[in-house]
């Protein structure tokens, strides 16, 4: 088999694997401080509405209102840094109107589903 053919096959084989950032330590990064991401591909604002049936979240951020989907793959974290408490894994129920959140959306072009949501827990 020629080197060129192997090259093409290898390129196809590797195209199956995608790259992404590590999510494990992301949970411990306070709202607005994610390197290379915060305020570039995230929105930071207050939750204006939560639609449980449609599984959507609407936030108000400086540029306006944004609505994103919350899927099974969306990670929700409770940012308790201001309380000097460890951050926790949250759930859809923690998305409550009035709470400050940071939302990272999947694929900047589509901006449909949230990759992760950090919910700021500022008080007990």
């Amino acid at each position: 088999m020629t080197a060129a053919r192997i090259a093409v096959m290898i390129a196809a084989f590797c195209a199956m694997s995608h790259a992404h950032a590590q999510r494990a330590t992301e949970r411990y990064i306070p709202l607005g401080q994610s390197p290379g991401v915060s305020q570039r591909v995230t929105w930071i604002g207050e939750i204006a509405a939560v639609d449980e049936s449609k599984r959507t979240l609407t936030i108000v951020e400086p540029a306006g209102r944004r609505t994103v989907g919350i899927t099974e793959k969306t990670r929700i974290w409770l940012d308790r840094t201001k309380l000097k408490q460890p951050n926790l894994t949250g759930s859809f129920a923690d998305l409550q109107k009035g709470r400050r959140v940071e939302v990272k959306v999947q694929e900047a072009e589509r901006r449909q589903a949230a990759d992760w949501v950090k919910v700021e827990i500022a008080g007990p």
Partner: protein, 459 residues
């Protein structure tokens, strides 16, 4: 009597003038040596300082705790055994808050393994991986892929945007914390934007800045044959994934593969009976793939693979002849490209030859780096001795590596002797007040003699 030995006033005045003149001359000389400020060099220097000294208000570790410069930015059991008990590497042994689920001291000391929580922090006793410390050399040319940067063993080591710049943030959270609560501002502080910039610049400055162009005109009979096997897409097939012995595909950039390392029988860490969960590699849940590392730096940065499964470069090459690799997705894929349906099948002499090739290109890289350090130190003036000394100490270390890499494979004894001479000269230069430059020049000659025995000079 005393008055007779004291200098007269005009005499003292002349001495004062002479001393003043010397002082002014010294200042002028220093001014002549001063170079215009280079912002990139300053950023790299800042990154170096952070890398080795900044603890980020954490448990005392720095990046350099695991990525030791004198050990090619990695660590191994032999080196770990030389460290004092209170070294920050062993923080889990003396900080009660980190005693459980932060490290496994036995596996760290016996096999150089570090505990990682790539799959999350929700079940610390059960969900973790034990991984070796990858060196951070040649990242300029080793981590780019069309799908994004691939950092760390599984290519997904960095939080945020997944870039090398963001890597330090995740490392601080994973490895620098004072307690397992991992609260920013309490257990550590996160790196600032400027610190991330500096760390990235420093890491990108380390090691090779480009890939080799194979084949090289090697002189050693066995290493030359090893290179042929390495490049032969019908035999060694190494160059398919490690193009030019780097970390990139022969046809492009860096990539991930499931090469079956996790399926190796008798993995040293698991033989201990300690809990070592299967490492699922890239992603969460993982897809079983790991990132392709560069090979030029391999021979002096063992143990090998993400789990430090084998200790020698010969064993690392032999892995690709075994069942674990040939039954893996990557091995089967290679077999599918072979007219006879064979993955990789090498005999003992061929394995030794490929390893010899890897040893020689590693030694050549050591020599290149030593020559660079020696040239930098030679350019420094009398009043920059401290800086020169640091460069020379690094050159001693690099030269020691080149000797070890060659002698470990029984290769090029004459070149090793020349490198030994070079190391002695550099060690003398470190301590010499007046002969540093001449000793460095002699060391450069010895390094070049050694190099000429490994490879034919380009015309």
């Amino acid at each position: 009597m005393r008055s007779s030995v004291r200098a007269s006033k005009p005499h003292r005045f002349r001495r004062l003038r002479l001393a003043g003149g010397l002082f002014v001359a010294a200042l002028a000389l220093a001014a002549c040596n001063a170079k215009p400020p280079d912002p990139q060099a300053a950023l790299i220097a800042k990154g170096r300082d952070i890398f080795f000294n900044e603890t980020f208000d954490g448990n005392g570790r720095t990046c350099g705790t695991c990525h030791r410069e004198e050990r090619n930015f990695t660590i191994d059991p032999a080196f770990i055994a030389t460290l004092p008990k209170n070294d920050a590497l062993f923080v889990a042994e003396f900080n009660p808050d980190l005693k459980q689920n932060f490290e496994n001291p036995r596996l760290m000391r016996e096999f150089g393994l570090i505990l990682e929580n790539q799959d999350g922090f929700d079940d610390l006793p059960n969900r973790f991986n034990m991984r070796g410390v990858p060196h951070v050399l040649a990242q300029r040319t080793s981590i780019a892929s069309p799908q994004g940067p691939r950092t760390g063993w599984s290519g997904d080591g960095a939080p945020g945007d997944g870039s090398l710049r963001s890597f330090a943030t995740g490392a601080v959270i994973q490895h620098f914390t004072r307690t397992l609560n991992r609260v920013a501002g309490v257990d550590f502080r996160l790196p600032t934007d400027l610190e991330l910039d500096a760390l990235e610049a420093f890491q990108l400055s380390l090691g090779r800045q480009g890939d080799l162009q194979l084949p090289l005109a090697l002189r050693g009979t066995v290493a030359k044959r090893g290179q042929e096997i390495f490049l032969d897409n019908g035999l060694g097939k190494c160059n398919v994934c490690h193009g030019n012995a780097g970390a990139n595909l022969a046809v492009g950039n860096n990539a991930n593969f499931n090469s079956g390392v996790e399926d190796l029988p008798d993995q040293p860490a698991r033989l201990t009976g300690e809990k070592v969960p299967r490492d699922d590699g890239f992603g969460r849940p993982g897809d079983g793939t790991f990132n392709t590392p560069p090979l030029v730096e391999a021979a002096d940065t063992g143990p090998f693979f993400h789990n430090n499964a084998v200790a020698t470069i010969e064993a690392a090459v032999a892995f690709y002849d075994g069942e674990a690799f040939n039954n893996s997705p990557a091995g089967k894929f290679l077999a599918s490209t072979d007219p006879k349906g064979v993955g990789i099948e090498l005999d003992g002499t061929q394995i030794a030859a490929v390893a010899a090739f890897l040893r020689v290109i590693n030694a050549l890289e050591n020599i290149r780096q030593s020559l660079e350090l020696l040239a930098q130190s030679e350019a420094l003036g009398f009043f920059e001795r401290a800086q020169a000394r640091q460069l020379l100490k690094r050159a001693v270390s690099e030269t020691g590596d080149s000797i070890a890499v060659l002698t470990g494979g029984g290769l090029h004894p004459e070149a090793a002797a020349d490198l030994g001479e070079a190391r002695r000269l550099i060690e003398r230069a470190v301590h010499s007040l007046f002969f540093r430059h001449s000793l460095v020049r002699e060391a450069i000659q010895a390094q070049n003699r050694a190099r000429a025995q490994l490879i034919e000079e380009r015309k």
